[in-house]
Amino acid sequence: MSDAQFDAALDLLRRLNPTKLQENLNNLIELQPNLAQDLLSSVDVPLSIRKDPTDSNREYLCCDYNRDIDSFRSPWSNTYFPELSSEDSQDSPFPSTPLRQVEILANDSFDIYRDLYYEGGISSVYFWDLNEEEFDGHDFAGVVLFKKNQSDHSNWDSIHVFEVTASPSSSDTFNYRVTTTIILHLDKTNYDHDSQMMLSGNLTRQTEKDIGVDMSRPLEIISTSHVANLGSLIEDIESQMRNLLETVYFEKTRDIFHQTKNAAIASSAEETNKDAHAEVIKGLQSL
């Protein structure tokens, strides 16, 4: 595989019907199997849902970041389901013990966030270490996921992939980098009029922010600061993206549609005629 092929594949996926993303992704991989790994790890598809049998079948979200072989790690029990053989799970990725503690805190916090903003839906947060050694309050990465389905006709997936790294210039400053993709699908079928309408797709934005963390405090407090910083950053990003989605979906596309078809130009032409007519009458009356 070459970079040119990978770039061409990403360009194609940005052009083809976003509702058939998974299908197009599979077709591209069939055409060029070498692309499989890179495409699967860089293209965001709608999140799938699994149940954690050890936590009252509580639902969790699945993506490439919590996958190993064909199993997905649950954020609630830190276990892969379907369960892996003990041999396989020896090599499975898990966050280091101290980072898992932060992951638990993050899942708890974002679950409250989910409830306040989505009033339903599912959230899941997965962390992974960036250094060989155990997490000590410094660099780590992860993904924050939200999904909300409302009937079969509307679906929202938020995928925030982030990296937190110590700033090279100051030991108490961290760089938070977040790449956010929101996949939003809305459709409507009007059976009385034999008509359908669909607004569907995804938007991606990158955000970066430097935030200070007091590294002289105990690890537990440092961890709480990281989760709070991530939380308010993602809260801001989602608010901005929600506005952006609203503008693109409901104003931009509608405006472009009217640039192809617009009955108003006929009536505005009549208006202009009427105005011209009124001018003439006015002119005559003033004589």
Partner: protein, 268 residues
Amino acid sequence: MSSSKFKEVVNKIISDCPPGELREVYDDLIKITSENSKNTLLDAIESYNVQNCIPVDVDGTFIIISKYNKEGSKFFDPINSVIFSVDHLGHKGLDIEPYEFIHSKLEKQQLKDLHDKLHEYLLQNFPGDVSLAVYPVPEEISKISIIIVSTKYNPNNFWNGHWRSSYIYDLDTKELTGHISTQVHYYEDGNVSFQSGKDVSQPNVVDVVSTIRDIETSFESDLDLSFSDLNEKQFKALRRRLPVTRSKINWGNAIGGYRLGKNAAEGK
């Protein structure tokens, strides 16, 4: 991969291409596969163009190609009296030759009168780049096919818009049937697609042009309502602009307070 499987996959990808972006999709597919797949891609593009009634530039006039004006590998236009081959990738007419319209029921002037009346309607309702076709339906002498295409392509700003409405009018039964389809693609830092379609069927149509005008005007105003409806109902139900508390979240250790508050309110 077998060549028939390869063809199938390429056809699927091409058929999914938004109007106005065929060239880019073709270039991408050549890069992903190889120059050797050129002929398979061009075949797929030809069927795409015919199926989607794509207008091609025939000596400065845009003529819609479709299954209704196909003759062998060529296409004809009864009103402009030309027959031509098509460069399907470049959307250009080639080997343009004169064509004489012969039909057992229809006169050329009849088609032209309808064409001119429709054209007048188009000018007042379609601000995009507009193409219009009025073709007899092969083998069915009482039927006329009408195709309207309006496009606004703006790749520099990462969007393309497309309208197509196509009808069959039966001169004997006076029935008008057809389909309207519209598509907008917005792909700046993402990939957003708006698509809408509607099946149309109307009996006892005497004035074809004013019937089409009425159908399309109400389709357009229904769409405006649907946009507002999807925004007000479905979109708003997915994620709130602000939490129920109407202020941003107090992150950190205090966040547990929201849950305590909620549990207390629910009497847990």
